[in-house]
Symmetry: none
Subunit: 212 residues, 4 copies
């Protein structure tokens, strides 16, 4: 993998996400992540208490706090690892098809039990400045690389304006889903996802009224 973020032990270059390293530490680190992943799946973020993680992993609380700044950070990394391999890129032949399919998949994920965990994780990062970087590094980054590949493919095909930033693309396509996931004001059905994607791809305004 091109991102060095999802390995289990600490390396130089991880910046603020550093922690003790060495053979023992690596083992401890691993056990914590495995235990946390299990707890997340069983009871969501609320179950991934530091006490619970400690009890389940056999790693003491004090040690855990030497590796991570907060429970959110642990959960983010554990969850990021759980999701790491779950995202094969769609390849429908057209840019519109690929992006729409991607939105549908992400919507389906958000609607799944793990989608709830994702939402809780996003929520937990608000007001946990220490955990947020972990979430971005171990979860959002992975998502981002996937979209970037799709977008680059679209650029090569000439289907899109190359001036549009991939950041904006990501946020316009998935921001609405996340908003709905969090505030639960509209259901995350496949139909809704498709419509949303198509509207975003086409634009809200009629061509002749575009601002340019």
């Amino acid at each position: 993998m091109s991102t060095p973020l999802s390995d289990g032990s600490s390396r130089a270059g991880e910046g603020i996400l550093a922690h003790p390293c060495g053979a023992r530490s690596a083992r401890v680190h691993e056990r914590v992540l495995v235990a946390t992943a299990a707890l997340l799946d069983e009871g969501g973020c609320a179950a991934a208490t530091v006490d619970a993680i400690s009890a389940r992993s056999g790693v003491s609380k004090a040690t855990i706090y030497k590796h991570w700044p907060s429970r959110t950070a642990i959960a983010a990394k554990a969850f990021g690892r759980m999701m790491a391999s779950d995202t094969p890129l769609p390849d429908t032949g057209t840019t519109a098809g690929d992006l729409t399919e991607m939105v549908r998949r992400v919507s389906a994920f958000y609607a799944s039990p793990r989608g709830r965990i994702f939402a809780e994780l996003v929520a937990a990062c608000v007001g946990d400045p220490a955990g947020a970087p972990y979430f971005r590094a171990y979860f959002l980054a992975g998502r981002r690389t996937a979209i970037t590949q799709l977008w680059n493919r679209a650029r090569e095909r000439g289907d899109v304006d190359p001036d549009i930033s991939v950041d904006d693309v990501i946020d316009i396509l998935f921001g609405p889903l996340i908003f709905r996931l969090l505030t639960d004001h509209l259901e995350l059905t496949e139909e809704n996802a498709t419509r949303l994607a198509e509207t975003a791809l086409t634009g809200l305004l009629r061509p002749n009224t575009n601002p340019s």
Copy 2:
């Protein structure tokens, strides 16, 4: 009544948001909301503890819990009231201009101190099923009516496809902002907001590659 949401006391018809009524209750209700609003402004969601609200308002905890299901619910309503009158509609003359301006304003709001409170509120509603309806009713609904007006104006002008749901419009325009607000992965500058709005209005794909 088009907006039954922003009045200060309980009415029949509020459904799950009901609570004791009567003269004493109304006074109690009011004092709680005022105290909560003050606490929110001073220290964010974290400061709006039920204990703190109780102490500040002089209303006992037991009474508070007879009026609201959770602290999130109180905060949502108090915050919704704070924001109620702050949103004059933009009127630039063009649909694109109006919507872009709206996005810029919301972005600026999110970037402000009260934007943080908004984020904390959204986060708090995840995993507080009791509080979420309050947030939707007392905050999101207000936002929604504003956009609906703009959108209707656009429809009348013939600038937009009338089949596009206003729900999708709202989420495509503001979902990205909220996503950025929550995960803090991109700054909420005016420039970013403008670019985001324009991209959303125009669409991600080039006209000739539209899926239809």
Copy 3:
């Protein structure tokens, strides 16, 4: 009893030793003291953890900390109550006999399992400024009243210099025992106690060499 210190609930006049009162509080208070006494007897001061007291009494830690400033304080009061009735005054007919007997009894107490607890309690009060007053109020005070009675009897008999403060008497008779108990440098046997008492009663110097 003349001292208002050993009752189970809070009263005006207890000064710094105050705590919540009322029917519920009184019950809570009682349960904590009973549990603590049991723990002390079973495992000494080390066993009387706040967590353990909480678990055993069914009273939550937070509540415990509203009633007492520290575990030492609880232990002191619980131990004081355990000891409250255990001290019938000796009555041998002579002042020397009474005081010597008292020293022997206290020495025997110190040599007993509960003597260890007493030592641990004294030790715990050093460096727990919050707990120390409880120890003095609920334990030392009781001891003091007993000696005072003996000393008054001796004064009435004319056996002693009325200018000698009862404080000095107490400390000269029992200080040595406590010193030995704590540092364990000499055994607390009946023989040693008797000799110590007699030496203290007679004085260290020969009469004709007295400082006066």
Copy 4:
């Protein structure tokens, strides 16, 4: 050497107080004691954490635990060394004067900052069976030799009953002070010390009522 207790390095013959020896060990030993003494003076026993001693001395925790059984042991030895030379014998010309002066000096010491450390040390030895011998060996023993000399002088002068054990003398004179130091029930003023000494020297009972 009559007192093998106050030297800085280990020797065969110290019995249970043995530890590694050799040139390196001696240096390590020394550094630990110096660091501990400094910590004691700065923050009392509470500051003389094993971690703190390790950090300050540059000696690793593992090594420390090869030399001493517990932190109390280290503190006792370090404190004993600090006090080693501080006790010139009084020489007022009379036995009563010498002993009284001695009590006054010890009382003043107890009332000083280092007196607090002494108290904490005594307290720490209760419930630390491993540390207690160190305290007796490195601190009490020194005190004891001083009093023994005074007492022998008194015996030679014929001022005292030669049957009275020096142990009893020590405890009757200083036990009261220690008791007051620990439980803080009476102040350690010069006046109190003098009165206490005089009462102890004269005896609690009037001559004609002595038990013999």
